[in-house]
Amino acid sequence: MKVNILDIGSGNISSIKNWVEKANVPTKIIKNAQHIESDLLILPGVGSAGSYMNRLKEGNYDVAIREHLANGGRLLGICLGFQIMTQHSEEDGGVNCLGLIDGYVERIGADISHNGWESLQFRSNEMNEQSFHNQHKLTKKRVLNGRVFYNHEYGVVNNEHDSFSTSVSSDFSQYDGLFVKNKIIGIQFHPEKSQITGLDLISMIL
């Protein structure tokens, strides 16, 4: 299994690498769009939507990400990496995003920030109804039941049909915490910082 982690100069790559490698799967950090060659490509996300999209375009990563999906690869976006998969984000005065998910990103509330832990529960067969399903059967776990760490001010509203998603929390039920459709998975929380639940999740994803 080949896992690539995209490095566009936007933080926290080592935590993502540590998270995936705890499942005994090697990773490769990609700093050139032409070097993407993997079953699973991870888009980490730290920063703001405007500068993130600029960096993606400057490095031709936007084209490479679409090619990766067209070639049957799986794509995982974390936090801002998930948000920029939608069509539009209202951050930084409005930013056109990759448009891989029918949905948009909005401020979760004026002067509101969501920093903390929320529960996450789902059954693996719900996620596996999508073509994203865990191909390598690293775990026999059927139910994920734990807590995950959020640190965000913007949330994803998805308009997709036939996708699998869980909401951030009862207070932020309009926003997706976990989203899966076809070969795309988006995660608003930080799985790499979600302790035991994060480890369970990566085994279920891979």
């Binding site: 933080g11 760490f149 302790q195």
Partner: protein, 239 residues
């Protein structure tokens, strides 16, 4: 409400500190983080307790230690981040949030905005080391090694650029159940963005819960008792 821990990093090792002056060695930071992760600590704030004489070379040495950390617990880091040059070194660290103190007190907007561009607004925390002198609250500015009145700090600037504000009671640091809650009286920040630290005990955690505080950071005591974090979490349920 989150329940986390403050960890002090001095000359590449952890230390315990009492009342902002007495220091005792605590060992390697990776060992401390491993213990806290095992206790399911919600977050860890790693702070370099530096003064005006901190050098860039010392900062670099501490960064090398942070760079090698392996942890699945959310980490904030700060202490001595004073220039864009310092900021550049933080870009690839396994941390989620940045803590600025003097930069907020001295209104170093360029530095804070640079951090916001790299990490996002949700990642910016302001640390105010505070103490009461008479009827007034005073803030310690580490880059100048002096105290100034809270009334002379531009709190609007902090409200605008900081996602959360850590109020660190330096008089009661390292003590138990002794956080001075009068410090919060007339504090011009929404309780939802306040994090308290310094002398936090189980009774303080109950008060924090009642007051709608975002997070509490327990200091030295957390590392003295195995699984003590569970006791602190239980305290919130009793309140």
């Amino acid at each position: 409400m989150r329940i986390g821990s403050t960890v002090l990093l001095s000359e590449q090792n952890c230390i315990q500190s009492y009342e902002w002056r007495l220091k005792r060695p605590l060992g390697r930071i990776q060992g401390v983080l491993d213990s806290l992760e095992e206790y399911q600590c919600d977050e860890v704030a790693i702070i370099r307790p530096v003064r005006e004489n901190d050098s860039f070379a010392n900062f670099q040495k501490d960064i090398e230690v942070i760079k090698k950390l392996s942890s699945m617990t959310p980490i904030s880091f700060g202490g001595g981040v004073r220039t864009l040059e310092h900021l550049k070194l933080l870009q690839y660290l396994p941390i989620e949030r940045l803590i600025f103190s003097s930069a907020f007190i001295e209104k170093n907007e360029k530095l804070i905005l640079g951090a916001k561009s790299l990490f996002g607004h949700q990642a910016i925390q302001c640390l105010l080391p505070i103490t009461r002198k008479g009827t007034e609250v005073w803030v310690y500015n580490s880059s100048k090694n002096n105290y100034i009145s809270l009334t002379s700090v531009d709190t609007e600037f902090i409200n605008e650029l900081a996602n959360e504000v850590i109020l660190f009671d330096i008089t009661h640091e390292g003590m138990s159940n002794s956080f001075d809650w009068t410090l919060l009286k007339n504090m011009p920040f929404d309780s939802k963005k306040i994090v308290v630290s310094g002398g936090i005990g189980k009774g303080d955690i109950q008060k924090a819960q009642v007051n709608g505080i975002a997070s509490v950071l327990v200091d030295n005591k957390l590392l003295h008792q195995e699984y003590s974090i569970l006791g602190y979490k239980h305290a919130t349920k009793l309140s």
